[in-house]
């Protein structure tokens, strides 16, 4: 990435541009890999791109940035994802 030498509002791509947005989470999506049928609905609908699609189309959750909206749980037809209240300490 080339940095431009100019004092105006130029911004550069960064993961966590707003910090670790996982901190915003009140509910935590928990994935039960055994139930998952790799339909990828959670992956495509996650507004945060925090469902990680693996090579074999299995999925994982990026808790550092997942905001806990619950959409993944909601769209999963086999209920492989459930929501849990975030505990006092992560």
């Amino acid at each position: 990435m080339k940095k431009y030498d100019v004092v105006t509002t130029i911004s550069y791509p960064k993961k966590g541009a707003m910090g670790k947005t996982g901190n915003w989470r009140v509910f935590r999506p928990i994935l039960d890999k055994k139930k998952c049928v790799k339909c990828l609905r959670c992956w495509i609908y996650c507004p945060e791109a925090t469902i990680i699609r693996n090579k074999d189309d299995s999925v994982d959750i990026d808790y550092v940035y997942c905001k806990g909206c619950g959409i993944c749980a909601n769209v999963c037809k086999v209920k492989a994802i459930t929501l849990e209240r975030e505990g006092k300490k992560k």
């Binding site: 431009y4 100019v6 004092v7 509002t9 130029i10 791509p13």
Partner: protein, 386 residues
Amino acid sequence: MSEVMIDTGNYIAAKAAVLCKPDVVAAYPITPQTTLVEGIAKYLATGEYKGEYICVESEHSAMAACIGASATGVRTFTGTSSHGLLLMHEMLHWASLARLPVIMCNINRVVGPGWNIWADENDSISQRDTGWIQFYCSSNQEIFDTVIQSFKLGEHEKISLPVMISYNAFILSHTSMPVYLTDQKDVDAFLPKRKPKWKLDPDNPITFGNIILPAEYEKVRFDMQKSHEYAKKLIPEISKEWKQRFGRYHGDLLEFYKCDGADYILLSMGAIGAESKVAVDNLRKEGLKVGLARVRCFRPFPREEIQKLSKKAGLIVIDRNISPGMEGALFTEVKASLYGYTDAKVYGFIAGLGGKDVPFGDIEKMCKKVVNSKAKHLEWFGLKGV
């Protein structure tokens, strides 16, 4: 010697712009700018202009399109006047804060209502806080030379700011005068290719203009100010280079005319700036020691140059504009520049609002009022029936 073209200010501006090969022109018609745009359209039809001419649906969009194009790194040009300029106001701020060197001619025309298409500088003076560099021309030759110089100035790596070249409605825009042209190859040699300070580029996926916090924004403003300060140095350099290459010169930030030994120096702009020369000639013939410092550049404001002047003479300021509730903008800024620096006498006149003609005789009368100590601090010259 170079070719002479005799044409109106607008066609001359179009000619100059086309010689600078802007990649994109986006403009919207408004009297008295129309012939400038038509000029570009004609050069496009003849193939002399090879860029893109975007016919937008408003001036707000004209400036937005120039901003978009400039952000891809190319050279851009546009022109407008009066209400068109006012409608661009938001985008004028945008262009300067984005540090995009859009070059624009503005034909100074009265602001309505009522509708009035004649010369008055309130349109561009109202843009004095937008961050644009502002020139005011007083002849077609100066328009030609300044348009080309402005590309060099605005695109300079230490500047990267938009430039507005203003000239009076009809008095210049529609008046034919002879102009010495510069050849294409000479323009090419004078004007380096634009090296954008930033650009939209899939290989470098930056985001421009997102939310910026106070402390960082303050720096953006400060840097802009630094560039304006630098422009005060660069403008004389560019004028000098132009003079050396082509022998033509219209002054730096100011143009001096018979200022040697003057007791009073007239400060005026635009068409009145030219007419003032006739007045000065006449006054000098009568033995009155009056000179002229025509203000070519209003932004950055030539504070230091005016300070120097004030050491030599009293100043007489003519404004073809008014900031209602205050006074003429030039008068204000001249006095502000001198405050705490000299105690030279400074007198202000407001004249030519609404496009009223300001012939040399009137200018002479203003000067004589001052010389004969009959002038008030500020006066509306020649106002009748109020």
